[in-house]
């Protein structure tokens, strides 16, 4: 016979479970409905005809309705360019802030942190002028470069590099590494969880970014998914809910599937990087 805990903890667990499940279902419901609508004809969808036949027509219509492949490619290129630039810039700056003592460093750091609050979104007008002036209007670099010097990234990298034990740095130096060698062989590998978490944040942010690309893209050849989706979803003459749901599902599918497959690692990366 095994001694059992009293009744109270089991009751709380039951209440917790009930609460958590309810909230979870409420939270996921919109997405489920969108999926449902995407696979049904419009009238079945809006009338909740549970017997309605499942169909792929909406996807066919949506797929033919816009150059999605191009949009996917653009978005993919965009997140790659943004991430690559961010990794280089934030690594260098984070390293400087974490490991180099020089006058003015702390003031500079505060200035960088200020940028956390000077949102690129708020500066759309002048940034748009700047991007035009630099000849980057309607290019993937035009969308990407303003995000390269991410203050959040610099902050994270500094944090990660600071938490690398000083001994590792010194051991590498004794073994003959230059400052770059130390950065490359010690700091960068040690900050891997942070890189991973940051990459995830960056990719999902820029996969989802809308306002800025809306403003600086002009053509199909640069337009990312989100802007494409918004154009697709707001035609002059009216919308078809099922087709829009299909397009929406289609455009979120890659990220959603990636997330569902890797959600454990995704969440873990966040937790391990200790972002807070």
């Amino acid at each position: 016979m095994a001694p059992k805990r009293s009744f109270r903890p089991r009751l709380t667990l039951a209440l917790d479970t009930l609460g958590a499940w309810t909230l979870a279902i409420v939270w996921i419901a919109p997405l489920l409905f969108a999926v449902w609508a995407a696979f049904h004809s419009t009238s079945d969808a809006v009338n909740f005809n549970l017997a309605g036949a499942w169909t792929l027509d909406n996807f066919r219509t949506a797929w033919d309705g816009a150059p999605w492949l191009r949009y996917f490619f653009n978005t993919f290129l965009l997140v790659t360019v943004v991430l690559a630039g961010q990794l280089v810039v934030t690594t260098l700056a984070g390293y400087a802030f974490a490991q180099f003592q020089f006058p003015g460093r702390d003031v500079l750091f505060i200035i960088v942190l200020l940028q956390l609050f000077i949102l690129p979104e708020v500066l759309i007008v002048e940034n748009y002028v700047m991007v035009s002036r630099l000849g980057m209007f309607d290019t993937v670099f035009g969308i990407g470069t303003p995000y390269w010097a991410s203050a959040f990234g610099i902050f994270l990298m500094r944090q990660a590099f600071k938490s690398v034990p000083k001994e590792l740095d010194e051991a590498a130096r004794i073994e003959g590494c230059s400052w770059f060698g130390v950065l490359w062989r010690v700091y960068v590998p040690s900050a891997k969880p942070t890189y991973l978490a940051y990459a995830l944040v960056s990719v999902s942010t820029h996969w989802n970014n809308f306002l800025w690309p809306l403003i600086v893209t002009n053509s199909e050849t640069t337009r990312p998914l989100t802007v494409g989706l918004s154009l697709f979803g707001a035609p002059e003459s009216g919308v078809n809910i099922s087709v829009i749901s299909a397009a929406t599902i289609m455009s979120i599918a890659p990220l959603l599937i990636a997330f569902l497959l890797f959600q454990r690692q995704f969440v873990q990366a966040f937790l391990r990087a200790g972002i807070k």
Binding site: A20, W21, W27, F102, V112, F117, L119, V129, L255, K276
Partner: protein, 297 residues
């Protein structure tokens, strides 16, 4: 021998600046210079064929204050921030506590909470549009089951902003949950055990230990939520376009409209300057006051 130390120092300074230069150049190009330019252009009137641009000082600001839409969007944005920030924080906290407890199907619950976060706001808005549409929408259909009449959620000034707020909370809470979850996992389990032995109830433990220890996270999340309440407007493009009668128009959307729809860059600049000012004050409060206070270690 002092030369040695001095040489070493100089080398470090050089490297430091070298490493920082890409970031500084980019920050200047896309944050600091544009900020300054925004301020500068907010001092000039708009140039048209009839009235060339001229220096007007605070003129644009005066115009803005005279503009009823301006006060409307400010009030809207205050409501938007005032509701989305606390509500999404509270929901995120509840989610994190649940997602961190030993309930069945925890993986599903976590995924459900977090999934909205990875959707583009534009896509989320499309989905919610389907929810809100009067007559056809899911909300109305559910309401009909309980005998409520059709409600035009996005089409009525009383409800439009709230409809937008709900979408924002839905999108944000899961994201904030992750930060709380991370923070919860850094709380050593023996604190809970120590409290158990002292006879603290779950509620006491949560209130007296967990919440205070989560304070830095709460501040971080609150600042993020505040920033989002300024920048998260993508769904307006799909859901309401700021209507009806500006009932759901937010500041950034208005900036966009001023600049790209009305071609009134100076007004947009003036409004931008005010937003930057508010954000700057927030930044100061965060860095100077809050960060100092929460460093208990």
């Amino acid at each position: 021998m002092n030369d040695l130390a001095r040489y070493e120092r100089r080398r470090r300074i050089m490297y430091g600046w070298m490493l920082l230069s890409p970031a500084l150049i980019l920050l200047s190009l896309f944050a600091f210079i544009p900020s300054a330019m925004t301020f500068w252009s907010s001092l000039f009137s708009r140039g048209t064929r009839r009235n060339p641009s001229e220096f007007v000082g605070a003129g644009n600001y005066e115009l803005l204050f005279a503009d009823p839409t301006f006060s409307k969007v400010v009030v809207n944005n205050l409501i938007y921030a005032g509701v989305t920030i606390p509500v999404s924080i509270i929901i995120a906290l509840a989610m994190a506590l649940w997602a961190n407890s030993k309930i069945p199907a925890r993986g599903f619950v976590r995924t459900a909470f977090f999934t909205p976060t990875i959707l583009p706001m534009i896509a989320a808005a499309n989905i919610w549009l389907f929810f809100y549409t009067p007559g056809l929408g899911v909300l109305d259909q559910i309401g009909a089951l309980f005998g409520f009449g059709s409600v035009n959620w996005l089409g009525r000034p009383e409800t439009a902003l709230w409809a937008v707020i709900i979408v924002t909370i839905w999108k944000e809470a899961g994201f904030f949950m992750i930060f709380y979850l991370a923070a919860l996992q850094t709380i050593p389990p023996d604190l809970k055990e120590a409290a158990d032995i002292e006879g603290a109830s779950r509620w006491t433990y949560t209130r007296r230990i967990v919440l205070p220890l989560l304070m830095p996270t709460t501040i971080f999340v609150a600042v993020n939520a505040l920033i989002n309440s300024v920048k998260l407007i993508d769904h307006l493009f799909i859901l309401t376009k700021g209507g009806p009668s500006d009932a759901s128009k937010l500041v950034l959307y208005y900036i966009w409209e001023l600049a790209f729809s009305y071609f009134d860059r100076p007004q947009a600049a003036a409004l931008t300057v005010m937003v930057l000012l508010v954000l700057g004050i927030t930044a100061a409060i965060k860095f100077i006051i809050l960060d100092r206070r929460t460093h208990y270690q």
